[in-house]
């Protein structure tokens, strides 16, 4: 007997009505229920950041929100935010600086970096590292990611040529 919950939620601008298991996390609902697989599942306890998505405009851990809690809320995944063009400058900088390899962490990193630049348009490298400390990357060693974000800091051209 799997207790279910009816939800109505806005996902990437589209109204979605669904019946979800009460215990299903938001990231699992998005991946399995809506086939939005851009948000990834890593640690499932909130430390790695691979599941990062937006809920009512805030970056959150998709593995720590129940799908049932998205009822009446606005969800944005990497697919929606990217398609809207909001991340174009960041994505170009990531390409230019080789800030992704396998790409598993990248959706979470991009959404988090975007949130940083919105709240602090001119972050230092230390501030970038602190803000992105909840997004683990196993491939790049982080330097290129910091370079990419720093290259978009207002008023600076980054310290990397």
């Amino acid at each position: 007997m799997e207790p279910m919950v009816d939800i109505q939620t806005m996902v990437n601008g589209t109204e979605v009505t669904a019946r979800v298991p009460a215990r299903q996390t938001l990231v699992d609902f998005l991946r399995y229920g809506l086939e939005l697989t851009g948000s990834h599942v890593g640690c499932e306890h909130g430390v790695c950041g691979a599941c990062t998505l937006r809920l009512d405009g805030d970056v959150v851990r998709g593995c720590l929100v129940l799908a049932a809690q998205a009822d009446g809320a606005r969800v944005e995944t990497i697919e929606g935010v990217s398609d809207a063009g909001e991340l174009a400058d960041l994505q170009a900088a990531f390409h230019a600086r080789n800030a992704l390899q396998c790409g598993f962490c990248t959706p979470g990193v991009l959404l988090t970096a975007q949130a940083l630049l919105e709240s602090n348009p001119a972050p230092s490298r230390a501030e970038i590292r602190a803000y992105l400390s909840g997004n683990y990357c196993r491939c790049t060693g982080y330097h290129a990611i910091v370079d990419a974000v720093e290259s978009l800091a207002v008023g600076g051209e980054g310290t990397v040529p």
Binding site: M1, P3, T25, D28, V60, L64, L66, D71, T112
Partner: protein, 290 residues
């Protein structure tokens, strides 16, 4: 739909989302073993790892009136559902209790702070949590609602053990209150962790009055050092009325062993934690003196 067989998924539960405090209390009295879901940043990991398997999860996120911030009669009153992010951004809280805005920035990462709540943090009473120690340092209290009505519990009586508080089954923590900082009072905060956002290996929230270079009414709230947040009364007592010279601080640090019963963890033994507490005492008391 297909889930991985070795994945971290909660055991089944019934989900309830009450729309009033009365409804929430009614559900909790009917199901005393239900888990209360606020921000979910501590509870949902526990559900995912099946450290807890409640029959019901009661989502209190829709309850009205639990996100207000106000100052009245010398007390700063904050609703239990305030997110850590809201505390960091609140000018009222920055003016009335700057320690809180300073402390919450050490809680996890931005995504965690966007969801985690101050009431949830205090009710969970994780020994490594920042806010319980802040409440002790500030001489604060919590407001609790339950079947018998409202009651207040002072911080010194609220934290009773690891993940244990004075909350009884069927009760909800509804508000957090701290005295508004009086003139001359200053606060300091420090936390040691290996990486940004890691759980603290040791931490200190301090509050006291500085008068002509000397400290009075000093409260040193240590966290991640024992099974609950701890006021270092012996150490603070050695500094009462004295200036924060290196010698006086060292004298206070020497008394920490009387106040703190450190509980070791993998990678940080009890002796090391006590040492860390001394290091933090020097750094944070330096903040008060500056």
């Amino acid at each position: 739909m297909k889930w991985g067989s070795r994945a971290l998924k909660p055991a089944p539960f019934d989900f309830v989302r009450p729309s009033s405090i009365a409804e929430a209390l009614s559900v909790l009295s009917e199901h005393p073993e239900a888990a209360v879901l606020a921000g979910g940043q501590s509870l949902v990991p526990m559900l995912n790892m099946r450290l807890v398997a409640p029959s019901h999860v009661v989502d209190i996120g829709a309850l009205p009136g639990l996100k207000d911030v106000s100052v009245a009669d010398g007390w700063l009153c904050m609703g239990a559902l305030l997110r850590h992010r809201d505390v960091a951004n609140s000018p009222i809280i920055a003016a009335a209790a700057p320690l809180l805005g300073q402390a919450v920035l050490h809680i996890g990462h931005p995504a965690i702070r966007n969801r985690g709540t101050i009431g949830g943090s205090l009710a969970m009473a994780d020994p490594a949590a920042e806010l319980p120690a802040c409440l002790l340092a500030l001489g604060g209290r919590v407001e609790i609602v339950g079947p018998a009505g409202r009651r207040r519990v002072d911080a010194v009586a609220f934290f009773t053990g690891a993940y244990e508080t004075a909350l009884q089954p069927g009760e909800l923590l509804s508000a957090v209150e701290v005295p508004v900082a009086a003139p001359g009072y200053r606060s300091g905060f420090g936390e040691l962790a290996r990486r940004h956002g890691d759980y603290a290996l040791a931490g200190l929230a301090a509050h006291g009055r500085i008068d002509d270079g000397r400290v009075f009414d000093l409260r040193l709230g240590f966290f991640a050092a024992g099974d609950r947040p701890t006021l270092a009364t012996a150490a603070a007592g050695r500094l009462e009325g004295k200036d924060l010279s290196a010698a006086n601080i060292a004298d206070a640090v020497a008394a920490l062993g009387q106040d703190i019963q450190p509980v070791g963890q993998p990678g940080c033994g009890a002796e090391t934690k006590l040492h860390h507490c001394g290091v933090l005492a020097k750094r944070v008391l330096g903040q008060l003196a500056a």
